[in-house]
Symmetry: C2
Subunit: 710 residues, 2 copies
């Protein structure tokens, strides 16, 4: 049976559950699952399965899932790994539609486990049985009062769908959420992903009404292109924590899950282009999920600060500016209203200082006025626990104001022991609140980046590589030359392809007489002459290259010198000489690309992210300054320009400090041509155009290297 | 009376206190101070002063401090600002040695308040009365059971001396510390710093036995050079939070305290050179103070991780590598011991995964073994709250092990509600513990940077600018030309000074005939000719500059062209022409300097940080890549090399990818010469050598600009 769109319904919304492997010992995992399901008062039917018992916990125990008299929607399997296959066979026979395999001992343990896991997954797939896991914590759906996991607690109900490749990460986030009253619509531990994986789940959650935010902890992303398509389409924020950026951590991932992780640049670029909110810290992930879950949307970057202390106002200002947000310029009307309300020593320039002796009431008017001010997009309310500070009353006041406002109002109660009473009151009323200024500002900044990208995505035409792909002139030759290992494309073929896509390269000609050389030189001075690559690998070393030739006299002289060298030293009887125009460049640019996934990456979306293009400062400073930005193929013209704007060299190319601009349009053209090339010949595993010499009117690729691989 | 070394004794260790301004209303600040002093059972004598009452709270109330029959060591003043001066007069008459002025209404309110504050400070200084404040929260010394403040709570006793320019920041840190049981030796709110300021306090705390760590929140640092000297000398960590890096925050500071803040680069450079631990976040400051206060010292950067979950192990690895620490390579012996102890599915490669079903006991052996491993400098113990996890028992086990080990052992209990029980147990036993991995790693990384700098400081000769200063040849001319406003040094004087210090500049000559030019050219080709600056401001615009002259023919041609231009267009009858060798450079370097403080900065240490030198990539990319690093004058050769190593261009200059090195020693020499120049002529307010053209054997400053100011 093929996968159908609603094939996850049986997993998340079952009417009947079989717990296979429930034990007499209440501390065993099977029994904990049973107890979690009971404690949450799951309203559907629950069946216990264990051939060793007839009755447990006051329930009939069935010998096998097959002996259950009624329909079973979901099986929770917690039996030793070697028995799992037989249990799955039973489930298939019983026509169970979904199973959670809690049991460990599969692909995470090595080859044998991987083989067993694959076998089970194939059987299940053929029968239309969907599998979560194996080697997972389970799944929870609080709105259905369902906790099919062996977690030590149950999540509260809310609008966040959370999925995690690490079960322990689930338990940590769950514990955090209980402290702050944050609720979830779904809570899923992915385990080894034998069948159900992150992309399908995220797509499912995008269509689920009760989901407002999707959070995911992923150690690897397999179906790159598909994830991007889903993220670009949805209007829901997707927050992803993808660890493993350092090579040391990649080693740890591989020893932990046995899988490979994508490159940090590819992931970061993909997430940025698709509007996925990438987080790098546990508390950052938690805070931004809370912000998206509870807050009104943030539509701009102008933040107003109301504080009962000057110092923390300064700290907030630093943090706001540092994170790319702006201090709001409060309107004159607002200023006047606030000024009338506050004591004369208070500051009414943002940050607004209501002074240390402020009672709760004094916060009210400034917050209300700012909530109506068109120059303000969000309000940060900072409280420090001073002598007269009314911690809980201020919390209550913020709760009332925030509920009525259509802007984010983020309270920060800076402190520990005593402010925690105020913070917990705020959490009780679903106000995203923070103990530290930097946490609140970070959450606002991530929200702003998200809404900004969403806005941009709406403007951009959605590009589909399938419609962009076309046949190339050298299709057959390229395909024939592509091997299982990385292979350099020969120079003449590189030239052919460059010509096919109209990439600007230096004018050049292979000549065998000085007269031919002079004829070329007279059209092109200054010129360069050199031995051809076939003849010579290390031209510079042997002085087989001459630059800066401006005159017939010098050309004649250098031509004979080179000819002699080739004839005498290398014993080439009729040497060929390459004459090339010398580009009088002003700036060096760099363009490179690498492919994620194999050469079929544009045939199916399930195997990788495709090509990533790197662009930036070229020449000897490429490595030194790493002034490089990235985008994923296919990118729209707007996306390409966005990527360019974020390199530092772009300012110089566009003309700065009274300098005339260089040929920036020619650079954009070249990038578009290279993108076409990659979509035409996905066999290209990597390429480098370094440097691209940029003059006032041209962008000339003087050195192109292309490598192919299957 | 001059300030004496023990003049702060009366402030921190008084035997008798007068509370001036205690009120009938127990909610007034004076009464709160009284109540704070009583609640902590201060063992000394306490006198209440208020002319309106005869008795309050069962105590005699004196009309004035003068009517108190015995000696008063410390006066706590909380009366309206206009009365403060009279109260201070009384204190002087009574020979009180220290006063805390809590009252606000002074320099923070404007000119009038500033005048009043200065008047009071002068009187007090003359009489030998030390003043803390005005406009402050007060001071606490828990070991003396003294809380002379109006804070809502009292700190616990410990080994951290904390001072803050913001009273609210005090209250926030205090509240945090109560949540985590962190104790203080001193807790000081600086207020307006009319007399006592941060540098004197820090110096005092450096000498106090019960102080192990110094923490300071400072919105401005006035006595830069002195702070550096103190920090370089002490073996105690000094942690400083200095907000106000953004220009927006500087505005907020100035409206808040009325003072100017030093440049972010100067502060950062000074702190780095002096081994001051700079923090940028409130929780970061708190965490690192806790780490220094409670932990064993960290002597290296090799961190071992023990975790009950793979995912958080990966996150820890990322964080460790990101923050400049290293994952320890655990010794074979340790590996074997741990391997024997753990289940077969556990990972014994760092991060060591004790697996999700670990009870407390399973953590024990790995931690103990790693604590003995010579390849490990610190241990991060990560716990996630899984089904069987024994949160409090694991905490107990860590407490016992950490107390016996001489390495930092930092537990991270990742979660919220349930892990907090374990965390609080750890805090109770003074184990620096964390809710998030990134916080623990950040604290370790700051500790490591601190110990590394301390190690380096021990190696470096301590430089004193006083001994380095010497007389300059142009002392009188420079002094005479220095004005109240910024003034450019004339070109000939710039040349003179460059020669005085032996700075390499291009060979050049001013000529008036073509024969003179040819004579110069024949010695120096290639050359450049241009109009002199006196004649011409914008040489390039008018083509009054000619480059790349290699031959007599071209020199003759260009000479006459330029002469004609000057004669005809500018009507200069006998034009002077500047002929200069053209430097065939390989790289462009940049050197700049700015002075913090005025031209007397090297005469006294109390007015600023002195000169900061900036160095890095020069030429058109200076602004683009900001590949610049800094050091403060005077710096040792080692410090200068450290600063150079941290620029990216240094690698290219030292020779990279098979390229031969450029004249890096010549660059170091130039920097040393410029440093001497600045110490000789402190009137130099700023200078720029950009570019310094670097060849294989020279570093030539082709463009030097020097500005002076008083």
């Amino acid at each position: 049976m093929p996968k159908s769109d609603n094939s996850l319904e049986n997993l998340f919304n079952p009417e009947s559950i079989a717990i296979i492997g429930v034990s007499k010992d209440p501390d065993k995992i099977g029994s904990i699952i049973y107890s979690n399901i009971c404690e949450n008062k799951f309203p559907g039917r629950v069946y216990l399965v264990n051939p060793k018992h007839k009755e447990l916990y006051g329930h009939t125990v069935y010998e096998s899932v097959k002996s259950i008299p009624e329909q079973v929607d979901l099986a929770c399997i917690s039996v030793p790994a070697p028995i799992v296959e037989a249990v799955i066979d039973d489930c298939i026979e019983k026509d169970v539609k979904a199973a959670i395999i809690i049991s460990a001992g599969f692909s995470e343990t090595g080859e044998q486990g991987t083989a067993l896991e694959e076998k089970i997954a194939q059987k299940a797939n053929k029968a239309g049985l969907r599998i979560l896991g194996p080697n997972c914590l389970g799944m929870m759906n609080p709105s259905k009062r369902l906790n099919a996991s062996f977690a030590a607690s149950s999540p509260l109900e809310g609008n966040i769908a959370f999925l995690s490749q690490s079960g322990a990460f689930c338990t940590a986030v769950l514990d955090m959420s209980l402290d702050k009253n944050l609720g979830f619509s779904h809570f899923v531990s992915l385990g080894n992903k034998a069948d159900i994986e992150e992309t399908e789940l995220i797509e499912y959650f995008c269509d689920e009404k009760k989901v407002n935010v999707i959070g995911a902890y992923l150690e690897e992303v397999a179906n790159g292109q598909r994830l991007i398509q889903i993220a670009k389409k949805t209007a829901k924020p997707i927050v992803v924590f993808k660890p493993g950026e350092s090579s040391e951590a990649k080693k740890a991932i591989s020893s932990h899950t046995g899988s490979l992780a994508g490159s940090a640049e590819t992931i970061e670029t993909a997430f940025k282009q698709a509007g996925i909110v990438q987080v790098r810290r546990v508390h950052q992930m938690f805070n931004v999920m809370m912000a998206f879950s509870w807050s009104k949307p943030l539509k701009g970057n102008r933040i107003a600060v109301v504080t009962n202390a000057g110092g923390p106002g300064i700290i907030a200002t630093d943090d706001i500016v540092d994170s790319g947000l702006k201090m709001a310029e409060i309107s004159q009307t607002s200023k006047k209203l606030i000024e009338e309300h506050l004591p004369s020593t208070a500051s009414v320039i943002n940050p607004i200082d209501v002074i240390g002796d402020a009672l709760a009431e004094r916060y009210k008017l400034p917050i209300e006025v700012l909530a109506e001010d068109e120059n303000v997009d969000a309000i940060l309310v900072v409280l420090t626990p001073q002598l007269v500070t009314q911690i809980e009353d201020t919390a209550k006041l913020i709760i009332n104001t925030a509920k009525l406002s259509d802007k984010p109002i983020f309270p920060v109660f800076l402190g520990g022991k005593y402010v925690s009473f105020g913070l917990h009151r705020l959490y009780d009323f679903k106000i995203p609140a923070f103990q530290y200024i930097s946490d609140a500002v970070d959450a606002l900044s991530l929200m702003y980046k998200y809404y900004k990208t969403e806005e941009n995505l709406a403007k951009k035409k959605s590009l589909d590589f399938k419609t962009l792909r076309r046949k190339g002139e050298y299709e057959l030759e390229i395909a024939a030359g592509t091997k299982e290992t990385t292979t350099a494309l020969p120079e003449p073929m590189v030239q052919n392809i460059a010509e096919e896509f109209g990439i600007d390269t230096p004018h050049q000609q292979v000549v065998t007489t000085v007269d031919e050389a002079l004829e070329f030189g007279n059209k092109q001075y200054p010129v360069v002459i050199k031995a051809t690559t076939e003849d010579f690998e290390h031209k510079t070393e042997y002085r087989a290259i001459h630059l800066d030739i401006h005159t017939d006299k010098k050309l004649r002289e250098k031509y004979f010198e080179l000819e002699e060298l080739l004839k005498e030293k290398l014993r080439i009887p009729n040497p060929k000489i390459l004459i090339q125009e010398q580009i009088q460049f002003k700036e060096e640019f760099f363009l490179g690309s690498k492919r994620d996934g194999d050469s079929d990456v544009y045939e199916t979306e399930d195997i990788g992210f495709g090509h990533i293009i790197a662009l930036g400062k070229g020449g000897i400073y490429t490595e030194t300054y790493k002034d490089i930005n990235y985008f994923l193929v296919p990118a729209s013209d707007l996306e390409i320009e966005d990527a360019l704007k974020q390199t530092k060299i772009w300012k110089i190319i566009k003309g700065t400090r009274g300098q005339k601009p260089l040929a920036y349009k020619a650079i954009i053209n070249t990038i578009q041509k290279v993108q076409k090339m990659l979509l035409t010949y996905p066999q290209i595993e990597s390429l480098d155009l370094n440097p691209i010499l940029v003059t006032k009117d041209r962008a000339v690729a003087v050195d192109i290297k292309i490598f192919t691989k299957k």
